[in-house]
Symmetry: C2
């Protein structure tokens, strides 16, 4: 077995701070009993939250800081004024090797900017990406990039494919995850040049890579779970992710209205209560909370800002999984193994 | 009142052909009793379908042709070999003035290519767009472009805003539809240069245009119905549309599974049957079938290929609405009115 892992927690990120982060750590510890934590934030609030979770007490080191990045601070402000903040210190703990992953529910732009500054990119990676876990009618899949960058050239799309596959291997325990490239049609003539080149490169070069390339897929196929990893540039990826969230919320609004439209529907809904509970759990965003920034020399995970302890614990679980399975080493190894060949993707090698 | 309208029908488009198109026309006629039709396709199949709808008989002219564009023909093939096909003849009927709109459930790429060739673009419009009707928790909204083009510069995004607003005025009967620009965040610093420039232009110049510019919106806000028109370049727009469709289908799969998981849920679902009927009708894609190609000198409407007569009738209704409200004249007038100012959007006039 691997040595015990320590995770660094930004206790001040998100809408709730230590009152969610500390109970989240306690919950994750019940599932991952070898875990240790170091948490950064307001010391008295962290202590108060910890008092209710005595079993966590000897597994967590608390580091007090009065500085915190605001949810609406711009990345540039966060870089200038964020030194010593709870988020900054959590990432420094990864950099120094004390922790093997950092988890924050804070401001996405600030977290990305500070992560890049402190952890730096893996050699050979042009661009890190944010990888979302996406529910499907089969198991979850991974979609990246969901907004770390706007636009991506062919080479960067190939990097996303490799990084997403490394995450899928770690998270789902499969040897050769299937990877699809999101496009506006599945025919070879569809899409922009970057997408076409990345498609050609992956078709030509992926036989000896630890993934199975499935070609183009369309937006309606993501939720069908036909691939383990969906690659897309960050503008369209972010819009797709948020559109899916919005559609799920919209249908939930419709359903609530329809089930309360009459006494009969209310009665039926009450009788079918266990079914609605199943539906709620299948669509519960907390189950898949936690989006890592891939491509850096260390694991940084963004938790949803509004989540509760159950959701935050899932982001911690993911950090533990990725650290345990050494996903950074895998990405670095994969990228190094194709270094010479990758340039042909950017150079338009759709030959 | 305006003079009677004639609509041109491609009777061979889609998965079903005349057996859906003719009953669809009959159904739309019951709602729009002044309508007349000219339909192009296999004459004996059209006659057989018409035999069941005697009230339509003296309102429709049938024009026989044995040529039809295949659902998988490439646009280039359709342009080369499509002359005289049912789709081609329907668009020529609009060009000649016999009909005021063409409706086809055929191949999207072919329909777009032939429409552009025959109808030509409105002077001042750089790019036509496909406008989808999108269900929301309030009334429907219009989203464009959903795939006519990949990418769009600032000027083209402004064109989409004007064209979408003209459609919203015709369809929803409102004077100044609200227009949002889809982006990866609502802050001014988010997005690519094209989106930022279009945003700056619309903020600066839209006061005297027949729309109210609402700024950036995010993907999860489309289904909330916070604006009447959502503007986005075609790659992200197509992915958003299909992702929403896929998510709706995914949740429907979850719901079916959950409601059949036990005898109790089955009983409850039976009792709440009227509620599920409401839900089904709220999410029924047939209600919002019909996506016009905007920006051409004539109305061409794409119906979903797999729809039935109820859905096809909706696409016909939309063609009638857009013709009746003279949406092409409105777009041409709006574009002409800002011709000099529009160039500043493309020239990077983000002030």
């Amino acid at each position: 077995m691997a040595e015990p892992k320590t995770l660094a927690l930004d206790a001040m990120g998100g809408d709730h701070g230590p009152e969610v982060v500390i109970p989240g750590a306690a919950l994750s510890l019940t599932r991952n009993p070898s875990l240790r934590f170091v948490a950064f934030g307001d010391e008295s609030r962290m202590r108060a939250a910890l008092a209710e979770h005595p079993r966590l007490a000897d597994r967590i080191r608390l580091v007090g800081t009065t500085l915190a990045i605001g949810m609406h601070d711009k990345p540039s402000q966060a870089l200038r004024r964020g030194k010593g903040s709870s988020m900054w210190l959590a990432l420094e703990a990864v950099k120094s090797g004390e922790a093997q992953a950092a988890i924050s529910a804070g401001n996405t732009g600030a977290l990305m900017a500070i992560s890049r500054l402190i952890l730096r990119q893996i050699p050979g990676i042009e661009r890190p990406a944010i990888a979302a876990q996406w529910p499907t009618v089969r198991r979850a899949c991974i979609v990246l990039d969901v907004g770390s960058n706007i636009g991506a050239n062919a080479r960067q799309l190939v990097e996303y494919a490799l990084m997403g596959a490394a995450m899928a291997r770690a998270q789902f325990g499969i040897d050769r995850p299937t990877v699809g490239l999101l496009n506006v049609g599945v025919e070879e003539i569809k899409g922009n040049e970057d997408v076409k080149e990345a498609n050609a490169w992956l078709k030509r070069e992926s036989a000896d890579l630890p993934l199975t390339y499935s070609g183009f897929i369309e937006g309606d196929q993501i939720g069908q779970g036909i691939v383990d990893v969906v690659v897309v540039e960050g503008f369209a990826g972010n819009i797709a992710l948020k559109t899916a969230e919005g559609t799920a919320r919209q249908i939930s609004t419709y359903l609530k209205g329809a089930m309360t439209q009459s006494l009969l529907t209310k009665a039926g809904a009450l009788i079918a209560k266990s079914g609605f509970k199943t539906l709620k759990s299948l669509t519960d965003p907390r189950n898949l909370n936690g989006a890592p920034f891939l491509g850096l020399n260390g694991i940084a995970i963004k938790s949803h800002g509004g989540t509760d302890a159950v959701g935050f614990a899932r982001a911690i679980d993911l950090g533990y999984e990725l650290a345990e399975k050494r996903v950074i080493d895998r990405i670095a190894g994969d990228i190094a193994s194709i270094a010479g060949r990758l340039d042909t993707a950017a150079a338009g090698g759709s030959g």
